[in-house]
Structure formats: structure tokens, C-alpha cells
């Protein structure tokens, strides 16, 4: 049965039956018929993806290597261009908005990468300040040396929330992987995001640091009521840190539903024979 499901990404296998009313509030993320084919490739690596993340939800994107998790997340804020379909964040159309609007959309959407993507030669504090680049505009958020005091205080506050306040002066390339990822989270906090996207934030960390980063990320976002969409290939993380899952296989959504309803069958549909 699972073999059928995985061969036809068009059919979405609904897990459980929890369905909130789509009433007054537009969902945080709504993706319809999204397709993506990298230039020079013949295969579509996202094929008619439909999915939705409701406001305030914590959703995990599960799938094996190459299933298209990173591609999907990057498409959401147009870090890469897709080839068709529609994407809405909080009701705003991502694909048609002009570049100024796009910058605002990105500003209100945090993005934590698998590899922290901090600027190696700059200080931790400066890296965190960069989170305010869209909001403040102009050079005041470029380097901590000439940032106004209120902005530096705000950055220190974000650092304190991830427990990295003692490292503000340290160069970013003198941090461990887990510390870097916490600084990256602080930089996203600086954006005051409505939606937090995270692409396997714990994948390059050891189990303990991974655990720390995942619980930090989800706890902070819960405090703020921020919607979270993270990708992972760790089923255990998915169960503990998300409310709902979206399963990707070969660029298609094969199942979505509450994490509590995930069965071994669903996992084998996602990961092939070995769950």
C-alpha cells in the first residue's frame, strides 16, 4: 500500500483527521502545485507540492536525502526560483511580489541553515546585528562598532536568550558548531520573525548539541507564538519538537498529519524499506 502512495506524489495520504477551520486567518504557509527543476537537470526535484502550515503550528518536513526538503524551504522565501505553482506566506503572494516586498517578507521570516552561515571574520555581536538589516536599512546594522546603542542592546538581548551573551566579542569562526547555530538563531530572533524556517538545524551537530539547538529553537518560538517549519531526517526529533509532519519523497508530498499519528508504514513509505 505504501508503495502505491510513494509512486504517486499527487495523492496525499492524510494522517489522522485533525482539521482546523480555515476561517479568518490566512495560513502561515500555503503552497500549491509547486514545481522546481534545477537548470540543466531533467528531473523535477519538486513535483506539484501542496502543503500548508497554519499560524502558530510547529511543522516538520521529513524525508530522506535528496527528497527536496532544502529546495522547498529555499523556494518559500525565493532564495531560489521555482518553475510553477503558488506560494503564500500569511496570505501574501511570494512569487509575484516586487523586490521591496520580497525583502520585507524575508525580513519577517527567520531562516536557520544546516551550516550556520555566519560571517566568519566578524564578531558574534555583529553577526546578530545583521538580523536587523532589513528593518533598519542603511549602514547602522552593518557593524557593531557604529551601530546605535539601542540596536546593540537589542542584539545583546537576543544573544542572552540563546545563552551566548558571554561570547559577544568572539569572532564567529572561533565558535563550536552548536554555539554557531545558537548565534544563528539569535540573528533570526533579531528579525522578530512571524515564521521561522529551519533546514536541518541539528544535522551537523552531535546528539547533545543537536538536542540543545532543537529545544532552544522550539521553546523560543513557542514563547513568541512564532510558526515553525523545520526539516529533519531525525524521526525522533520530529516526534518531540513538531505538532505535525509533512512527508516528502522524491519531490512529492506523500503524507501529512499530526506527528502522533505517524506509523511505521508511513515512515517506510518515506524512507523506502528501512524505516
Amino acid at each position: 500500500m505504501s508503495a502505491q502512495v510513494m509512486n504517486d506524489p499527487g495523492t496525499v495520504h492524510e494522517l489522522g483527521s485533525v482539521r482546523h477551520g480555515r476561517g479568518e486567518q490566512p495560513p502561515a504557509v500555503r503552497v500549491e502545485g509547486l514545481r522546481k527543476c534545477y537548470p540543466g537537470e531533467t528531473r523535477y526535484c519538486l513535483r506539484d507540492v501542496d502543503c500548508e502550515v497554519r499560524t502558530g503550528e510547529r511543522v516538520v518536513l521529513l524525508g530522506s536525502n535528496g527528497s527536496g526538503k532544502s529546495t522547498l524551504l529555499r523556494c518559500l522565501v525565493r532564495l531560489i526560483d521555482c518553475n510553477g505553482g503558488s506560494i503564500q506566506l500569511f496570505g501574501e503572494d511570494v512569487l509575484t511580489c516586487p523586490s521591496a516586498g520580497l525583502r520585507d517578507l524575508r525580513a519577517s521570516t527567520g531562516f536557520v541553515f544546516q551550516k550556520h552561515n555566519l560571517v566568519a571574520r566578524l564578531s558574534v555581536l555583529t553577526n546578530v546585528l545583521h538580523g536587523a538589516q532589513s528593518r533598519c536599512g542603511g549602514p547602522q546594522s552593518w557593524f557593531q562598532a557604529w551601530a546605535p546603542n539601542w540596536l546593540r542592546d537589542e542584539a545583546m538581548e537576543c544573544l542572552t536568550r540563546v545563552g551566548m551573551q558571554d561570547f559577544a566579542d568572539r569572532r564567529a569562526d572561533r565558535l563550536s558548531g552548536g554555539q554557531s547555530q545558537r548565534v544563528a538563531i539569535a540573528r533570526s530572533l533579531m528579525q522578530r520573525p512571524r515564521l521561522m524556517l529551519a533546514d536541518e538545524p541539528a544535522a551537523s551537530l552531535d546528539p547533545a548539541s543537536g538536542e540543545e539547538v532543537m529545544s532552544l529553537l522550539t521553546t523560543l518560538m513557542r514563547e513568541e507564538g512564532t510558526t515553525v517549519l523545520f526539516s529533519s531526517h531525525d524521526v525522533d526529533h520530529a516526534r518531540r519538537y513538531a505538532d505535525r509532519m509533512i512527508g516528502l519523497r522524491d519531490g512529492g508530498v506523500v503524507c501529512q498529519g499530526p506527528v502522533t499519528g505517524v506509523s511505521e508504514d508511513d515512515l517506510s513509505a518515506l524512507y523506502g524499506q528501512v524505516a
Binding site: 525583502r103 560571517v119 566578524l122 538589516q133 544563528a184
Partner: protein
Amino acid sequence: MSTSSGSMPERPGRFQRPSLPMLFSAVAFAGVVVWSFDGVDLSLSTFAEGLPQMGRVLGEMVPPDFSRAGSIGGKLLETFQMAVAGTVLAVLLSLPIAVFAARGQSPHPLLYHLSRAVVTFCRTVPDLIWAIFFVVTVGLGPFAGVLALMMEAIGFCGRFFAEAIEEVEEGPQEGLRAVGASRMGIVVCTVLPAALPSMVASSLFALEKAVRSSVVLGLVGAGGIGVELTTAMDMYEYQTASAIILAIFAMIMVVERLSAMVRARIM
């Protein structure tokens, strides 16, 4: 069980039989070499006849005459100042040019090709020609020299800065793009910091190059120690000339040593 004799694979020959295009290009190359030697009146006898003359000039150069050390020192400092000023101007101008000339950072393909063309042009025109051009346009003196050195250094820095910028890793840039940063913000906050060590090293190389070039600019009246050197040679004051040459040698050595030390520190 097979014996070892005969079962050995055949050893390839030491030389492979040349292919026809290979043979043809070898003959053509040999032809160009012979033709060039023929064209420049290469002659062992002329060289042999010139030997005593060389010996005489070299002999007249010792001992170096440092009696004009004051004016030589002044001109030497002027040469150094020209090199520093020219290089600094070039570095400042090269920064924006290099951003435009770097694949992946250039805001528009037209700007990319234009800035590449400017950099290539600056590099391919020799410094002496720049110097002649500026002597004619802004007049004799060190200012013409500074401009000439600047043009040459733009050709050098523009190219290497652009390469350094192209080599910067994509990750941090994507990180800032996701934050909603402007193009300018991304360049200043991620690209330039990452390219900085390489750009400082290139700038120091440019300074060394400028110090060496600035010596000859005086030959066409663009300021610096070169003027002193030509004058001394023209007046057959070979002992003064050798003092000047030694002073130039010392200055270049010092600049190269210092620059190498700084580069070793930052890389």
C-alpha cells in the same frame, strides 16, 4: 604454473611516435625562433666587441659616489610617496570596479563586461605609456607618475580583487539574503570581510610593483628617482649612477621584505 618468461606485459617505449599536428607545431615553433633571432641582428661578435666597453662602464661605477646622498634620498622618498599614493588611489577605485567585475555580484551584465574591459585595458597598456600620456596631459612631475602608477595598479588590483570576491563562499551571503538584506548590505557585510585578507595581500603586491615601476617613470619625466638616474648616465657620472642604483635596490628590498612580513601575518 606459468614461468615468468613471456608472461610480462610489454613495456611501453620511452618515446611515443609524434603525431602529425605535433610534428607540424614543433617545426613551426623552431621556425619562429630562428626568424626572431635573425630579425634582431643577434651576433656573438658584436657582443664580444661590446665586452670591454661593459667592463669599462662597470669599472667606472666603482666606488659608488654618495656625495649627492641628500638629493638622491629626497628623490627616493618622492618615488616611494608616488608609489604609495598611486596604490592607495588604485585600491579605492578598484573596490567598486571589482565588485562590478565579479561574477555573481555584478548588478548588470553590461556593467560586468564594461568593468572587465576597463581592468583589462589598464593592465595591458604598459606603465611607461601611461606615464607619457599623463606627462603630456597634466605636465611633467610626480603627479603624472602617480596617475600612471594608479592606472597600472587598477589593472592589477581590479583583477585580483574580483577573483577574491568570486571565491567568497556562498553560505553567509545566502544567510544575509534570507534576512532581507540589500545587495549593498550583503557585499559590505559578507563579501568584503571574507575577501579582505586576499585583497590586502594583493594591495601589498601592487605597492611592491608600483615601487619598482616608479623607478623608470622618471625616464619620461614623470617624477621620482628615474630622473636622477638618467641625468647621471647622460653626464657619464657612472659613480653617482651606481650609488642611485644601490639606493633603489635597497628601497625595493626593504619594501618587499616589509610587505612579505605583513602578508605572512594576515594570511
